[in-house]
Symmetry: C2
Subunit: 85 residues, 2 copies
């Protein structure tokens, strides 16, 4: 077994309402950042996973996302990277 | 001016307490994911920014992180990618 560091992005599905992103965009405009057109806020998870190989680490992390880490109705997830810590 | 899509990772500084990550790790263990050693939970922000070029889009986003998006005491941020939407 080896340890893998898996980074995951979980983001609100495009097209769905993202009130947190809207609030951040409004706050940035108030601070003078007028060039900001749109903001989406999601979660960035970094998991240290013990697995036989990188393929297994990816598959196991995908199952974690489907069961707990992402809301399948409103969010999309993607495995951003897998590396050795 | 062109529009750039800038992705940002904001994560609790390594070594600082991450209670949300601890809670997620415990929940994953309860679900039977025994191979998970450690979890860190941060934010994943995707900003659509109007700027003259990619360098300006990066610099402007860095200023947004320093002023609003990241807590400079407890969090680290990194610009993960810049692309054209």
């Amino acid at each position: 077994m080896s340890r893998y560091r898996v980074a995951v992005h979980v983001a609100p599905r495009r097209g769905l309402l993202d009130p947190q992103g809207k609030a951040v965009a409004d706050a940035l405009h108030s601070l003078g950042f007028g060039g900001v057109a749109d903001v989406h806020v999601g979660r960035y998870l970094v998991l240290d996973v013990d697995a036989r190989d990188e393929t297994e680490a990816r598959a196991e992390t995908g199952r974690m996302c489907a069961q707990l880490l992402a809301n399948p109705v409103t969010e999309d997830f993607e495995i951003a990277s897998v590396s050795r810590p």
